[in-house]
Subunit: 392 residues, 2 copies
Amino acid sequence: MQITDIRETAIPLNSNLRNAVFDFSQMTTSIVAVITDVIRDGKPVVGYAFNSTGRYACGAQMRSRFIPRIIDADPDSLIDEARDNFNPEAILAAMMQGEKPGGHSDRSVGIGTIEVAVWDAIAKIEEKPAYQAIADRYNPGGAKPDMFVYVGGGWYAPGKGIPELLDEMRGYLDMGYTQLKMKVGGAPISEDIERLEAVLNLVGNDGWNLAVDANCGLTPDEARAYAGALAPYKLRWYEEPTDPLDYALMTELAETYEPPLATGENLFSQQDMRNLITFGGMRPNHDVLQIDPPQSYGVVAVARTIEMLHGTGWAVGSSVMPHGGNQMSLHIAAGLGMLLCESYPNTFGMFSGFADDAEIIDGYLKLDPDRPGIGFESQADLYEVMSELSSN
Amino acid sequence: MQITDIRETAIPLNSNLRNAVFDFSQMTTSIVAVITDVIRDGKPVVGYAFNSTGRYACGAQMRSRFIPRIIDADPDSLIDEARDNFNPEAILAAMMQGEKPGGHSDRSVGIGTIEVAVWDAIAKIEEKPAYQAIADRYNPGGAKPDMFVYVGGGWYAPGKGIPELLDEMRGYLDMGYTQLKMKVGGAPISEDIERLEAVLNLVGNDGWNLAVDANCGLTPDEARAYAGALAPYKLRWYEEPTDPLDYALMTELAETYEPPLATGENLFSQQDMRNLITFGGMRPNHDVLQIDPPQSYGVVAVARTIEMLHGTGWAVGSSVMPHGGNQMSLHIAAGLGMLLCESYPNTFGMFSGFADDAEIIDGYLKLDPDRPGIGFESQADLYEVMSELSSN
């Protein structure tokens, strides 16, 4: 049993969306195919993944460093004999050979994307969904396949006013979502508050069902001003007020802003996450920790981060969510028993959303227990590109 | 006045050295040539740099993101009109377009290497050494062209015992160096202490002239054990005991290990450095902060980090040094008035050391005030490769 080839290619996101910090017009993402010699349904099992959104394609690092380290390893060293399957911990360790400590984001995205594709293969070999393969190994509490999902939306776009914003948000409610998130920080604060009130008026907020996201785009003074302006609205969370590494300011905000804060998607290692909870003033089981698994070394590393949280007062089911609304984050959230999952319907083209036939009912999405792997096969446009990568 | 082309290529380091964490056999580095249309001595001015040591070549990021952002910018927007030269702050800002906050190392090495090459060009345009061009802009106290340099050596290598270690260290003393550093953590602690005592016996330690470097290779318990074992020797510093982001452990060590600690070369941003001094327990003007400029966004970013240190009790001249023993770190240390500079004679092939005719006298190296730029032209082997990159 061995990995026979790993292929990658870069795809432009082709998005004209904008948040508080930048537009996505030049953004690219890497897709990966991990090809094995294990046969299921008469064909070699192939695992797929892509590197989520917001970090650029990283194929060069994969080709020059991570892929050869796997292909050149003794195949037997990458096997979990007890499970007769690939060993994701050994594969992660192989990719980390020759890497200096610290400086995570140079490699965490490339390694994480390959690692998540390995999990797609592992689950397909076991003929079970990825969430189940993950839960079997890392979640004694069992998977959470009935997953609450919310929409990360409320984007800025050229010419977009409040009526168009409400059209966007109404569309999500019509799809069955009950919790929404909107961008702030890309307009003057008074205009953002008008946008916020308009959306609150649409969704109602009895269930704390609106969150806001500043995407690290505020200066410290602006972050404080937004905290003051947002506090009365009892939002589900106030996300990434400022620089993701500004733990001192997060501590200050947590002391004055009573409703939940959220951050973490722009930290990429267990070490950084530990610093956030140790020095960032974050309140266990009140604030929300956000992790992007394919950008943070993958499933094994995220499972270890959750293990690190044990004993610190943080519970994965009430505090941790994945960044990135896609099939990968959905399965990983369900497998590890996270609080909820993000969704980006229609936002990033073929990289958006979940299975083409996924239904959201009262904010919940039921993962199909009969589809093996991560289930990219149920996303027709994306699977066409992925399967092309692994054919010939 | 404009930058007409930026070229890069990856070069293998071809080193068989080893520290506590990994060997350098697969390590590569990027070299960069920034070609301008400014004429000096009848030829276009070209700035050169390489990405220091320990982080892999990053040409793909340069080609797909940072180089086009400079070449596609309005050339006038990159000019410092008052100085009739390129504006390194504007060039840095151009390279940062479209980059998400956090996740520094994915880009800080590529951006920093290009930025340092821009400084080589800036100084050549002003027909002065790089240290002077840097001091003119960022160091009101004036440059420090008579620079104390120490050798980062004492490497592990296959078959290398104490006699060979002493030969290595004796060689440095014969070159004129008075302060040395040796690796620890790549052997059992008792063996490392034997190595240390042998070297101390050679160099004497009245002037605290031996430092040790664990390259983040110790577990927390090992880091504590080494602290206990090393403390009686009054070493110049105990460098990178453990993970560079483990601020909690650094705080603990600083409370129990009295002599100076050193760390920072595996942090790549001002935000991380601020966290280190805020949460890492580091003692101002006692411990040592280490920054690798070409790996940390370059000269402008390091100057801003030093500005951030003002008011925190840290003084650049008593606490800050560059990682990387090369012409770039030498000029940047001299320009910004840092404590001292590292040297790697003969260690990384053509990327080692300083000008071919540099003389070390009682530990000091006098930079030549008549050589414009960073002075790679005075390193024959390296300049041959660099100038080939810019010729066509």
